[in-house]
């Protein structure tokens, strides 16, 4: 059997048989779900407790418009003398909303006061302002002898229809979904690179500390061993990813059938803009959900998946060969920290650049440039792809990525070759540079 294959197989089996791998594979989706539920639950508790607000309405203008709801409970203290009300509010309420008596209602414009030691939430302030606004507006309308009922009737709430040149109708909010999806893919790649890069590094260090390395490289070339390690570990990673994908896709399938989405594969009627428009006009989220799921189905799924595979392989190989070189250069994991920083930096940069620039303008200059630079392209380009990226850009970026990958592997294998036989002291950057010339 080919020696590279033998190494790949050993690394793969060693990784997959590892208890932590099995636990990680099956536990982390559960953990992920558990965390989501926990966060959801905690934020629901957070909302359950209604904020208690006292009202002191001297002119009796506002209190009838302020209705208690799940989030805020209003109590009218206007009957008390103001000082008593203030004290009571200070003791047992979150705050006191003070509406002074003014000559005209219009004077309230800047007179309504909220007294509280804690700063009020933006939502609350906005809500109160809205109530005051509407009362003052109605008063204005009345003063000008305008029929409020007619005006209300004349009001229109428009909804912008988003569509593409191909005629497909887009839904509002789909951009957020695209950002989310791109972000998930980009983040996934970063996590994979860091986790599996570390596995490669640990496996190199293990062979060094076990002192088996010299026996192995008297049988195979160091380059074969390094590549075998990288490939073997990546296969384990891909297996883990496939397991997660199968779990995820089945959940998605269950969700789509549950909400009754007709997929592109089963029906052409989804393209009927009338039906989409009709459904879009139904304002309930539940009614719109099938449309969103439908929209997700209609994303360039094939492009996303194919590019994910290519960028995953390119990015992973690029970085894990560096991880392998670092593993070879040091004797134990603690020594690796100073060398790891320059590796983590571009990864983090990719995620942040992607998050801020792609979200605001997926085809802007910065986003485009960073989706070309090989060290960030696997992350940034994947974030851009759901928004539709010209094929030539993907091709150029992939060529750059794989070209750099070849260069970096050459560079890493030089350090690896020398490093695996060096024991004792931690090398300096200068020494690593010297090794390149051995």
């Amino acid at each position: 059997m080919n020696k590279l294959l033998l190494i790949v197989r050993r690394e793969f089996i060693a990784k997959v048989r590892n208890k932590s791998f099995i636990v990680m594979t099956f536990l982390s989706p559960l953990l992920f779900l558990g965390m989501s539920f926990l966060i959801g639950y905690l934020s629901s508790i957070n909302k359950d407790e209604a904020t208690k607000i006292a009202i002191y309405d001297q002119g009796n203008v506002l209190k009838s418009s302020l209705k208690s709801d799940k989030e805020t409970a209003y109590t009218d203290l206007s009957a008390m003398p103001f000082n008593v009300a203030k004290d009571t509010a200070n003791k047992s309420y979150e705050g006191l909303l003070f509406i002074p008596k003014t000559a005209t209602i219009q004077d309230l414009k800047s007179k309504v006061e909220f007294i509280s030691d804690e700063s009020a939430s933006a939502d609350f302030i906005f809500g109160i302002e809205k109530v005051v606004d509407s009362i003052l507006t109605q008063d204005n309308l009345k003063a000008n002898n305008l029929d409020i009922a007619k005006i209300e009737k004349a009001k229109v709430e428009s909804s912008l229809k988003l569509s593409k040149y191909s005629g497909d109708v887009s839904l509002k909010g789909i951009n957020e979904i695209k950002i989310g999806l791109g972000f998930i893919f980009g983040y996934l790649i970063m996590m994979f690179i860091i986790i599996y890069g570390n596995f490669v590094m640990r496996s190199v260090i293990e062979e060094k500390t076990n002192r088996i390395i010299e026996i192995v490289i008297s049988s195979v070339k160091p380059f074969q061993l390094m590549m075998g390690k990288i490939i073997g570990n990546s296969l384990a990673g891909i297996l883990q990813f496939i397991i997660w994908a199968i779990v995820g896709v089945s959940i998605f399938f269950v969700a789509t059938t549950f909400f009754g989405v007709e997929t592109a594969a089963t029906s052409m009627s989804k393209a009927n803009p009338e039906a989409v428009k009709l459904a879009a006009e139904n304002s309930g989220f539940m009614a719109k959900l099938p449309l969103y799921l439908n929209e997700i189905w209609n994303l360039p799924i094939a492009t996303i998946i194919i590019s994910f595979i290519f960028y995953f392989i390119g990015g992973y190989f690029l970085y894990s060969s560096l991880y392998a070189a670092i593993g070879a250069a040091v004797d134990n994991e603690t020594d690796s920290q100073q060398f790891l920083l320059p590796i983590i930096m571009p990864l983090m940069l990719g995620v942040y650049i992607g998050f801020f620039t792609v979200a605001s303008d997926p085809h802007g200059n910065i986003a485009t440039i960073f989706s070309m630079i090989p060290f960030t392209s696997p992350i940034v380009m994947l974030m851009r792809i759901p928004f539709g990226v010209p094929t030539w850009q993907i091709i150029v970026s992939l060529i750059l990525l794989f070209g750099t990958f070849v260069g970096v592997v050459w560079f890493a294998s030089k350090i690896y070759r020398v490093g695996i036989l060096m024991y004792g002291k931690k090398p300096t950057w200068k020494e690593l540079y010297k090794w390149l010339k051995y």
Binding site: M1, K3, L6, I7, R10, A14, E206, E207, N210, R211, I212, E214, I215, V216, I217, S218, S219, V220, P222, L421, Y423, K434, K437, Y438
Partner: protein, 306 residues
């Protein structure tokens, strides 16, 4: 006699440091060849080049009549000084893996493993992880891994370091047996007594240069000082000493003897041994007469300190 390994003017440099300065060696087929030298002399560098772990900067290596090439990997068995095995891998799987890396087929490897496991009576270890074995047990596995593929040339770097005396003896016997079956052995060590005992050829590398090479007896002959240890029973100590010092360089020495004799070390220089014998026998009864043969240790220290 055929040469299994020929090293021709091999140079290896690490940056500005020269690890091997045009070193040439000839290892005869079927020999046990001791590669000696102090720490940092360049032995390991040379061994790594022979194992194709690193490449020489200049010079060439001829193995079994051919220029060194990747096919030779399966012909060499190498036990490095820094050695170990995968701790969390099962013994059997590990041996199979390493044997296959050496180019053996799985079937062959299994067959050979069965032979060696039976020989060392360790069949029950097959499914054990290496970390469950004691150090001595792991050493046996290590040795099996080295010789499993029936190498023509066995390179052992400090083979006995870390082995307990029982295992060291076991391994020594196995090495000698393999040698009798025709395996050539290169033996790099600091343990001079095992060189003395096992090697028929030696080479000494010091500060990146080869200083000595040859058949062990030839090297010893080269280093002979024509010094003899003699024991003589005499009444006339002063007369004897006077006569001896006229012709030879004389010193005190000690050796085991049952007689109450005068023990001397005499360097005869260009004189014949009989000249010394006649002086001794004229003055008393000769009880001991032996040439002082330089030990490998003496040769080593003398060469390195010169």
């Amino acid at each position: 006699m055929n040469t299994i390994l020929e090293v021709k003017n091999v140079v290896k440099q690490y940056g500005d440091y020269t690890a091997l300065n045009s070193v040439s060696l000839n290892v005869p087929e079927g020999s046990i060849y001791g590669l000696l030298g102090p720490n940092g002399a360049g032995k390991t560098s040379l061994i790594r080049i022979i194992n194709q772990i690193t490449l020489p900067d200049a010079g060439e290596i001829i193995l079994n009549g051919e220029k060194l090439n990747p096919n030779h990997i399966s012909m060499i068995g190498y036990m490095p000084e820094e050695r170990g095995l995968y701790k969390s891998m099962k013994v059997g799987e590990q041996c199979l893996y390493l044997a296959q890396l050496k180019g053996m087929s799985k079937q062959d490897a299994k067959k050979q493993l069965k032979f060696w496991f039976e020989k060392f009576e360790i069949q029950t270890w097959w499914d054990k992880k290496l970390q469950e074995l004691s150090k001595g047990m792991a050493q046996k596995v290590q040795f099996i891994v080295t010789v499993l593929h029936n190498p023509k040339l066995l390179i052992l770097d400090e083979p006995f370091s870390g082995f307990d005396p029982v295992n060291a003896n076991l391994i020594k016997d196995e090495i000698i047996e393999l040698n009798k079956k025709g395996t050539s052995i290169i033996f790099s060590t600091h343990r001079m007594e095992s060189v003395e005992e096992m090697c028929d050829y030696i080479a000494l590398i010091h500060k990146s240069n080869k200083l000595i090479e040859g058949k062990l007896e030839d090297v010893k002959r080269q280093f002979r000082t024509n010094t003899f240890q003699v024991g003589v029973m005499t009444q006339n100590v002063e007369g004897l000493m006077y006569q001896l010092t006229q012709k030879f360089t004389v010193g005190q020495t000690d050796f085991k003897s049952l007689n109450d004799d005068l023990k001397l070390e005499v360097q005869i220089g260009n004189h014949a041994t009989n000249d010394l014998l006649s002086v001794l026998s004229q003055n008393g009864q000769v009880t001991h007469f032996a040439e002082k043969i330089p030990s490998v240790n003496d040769i080593f220290i003398q060469t390195v300190t010169d």
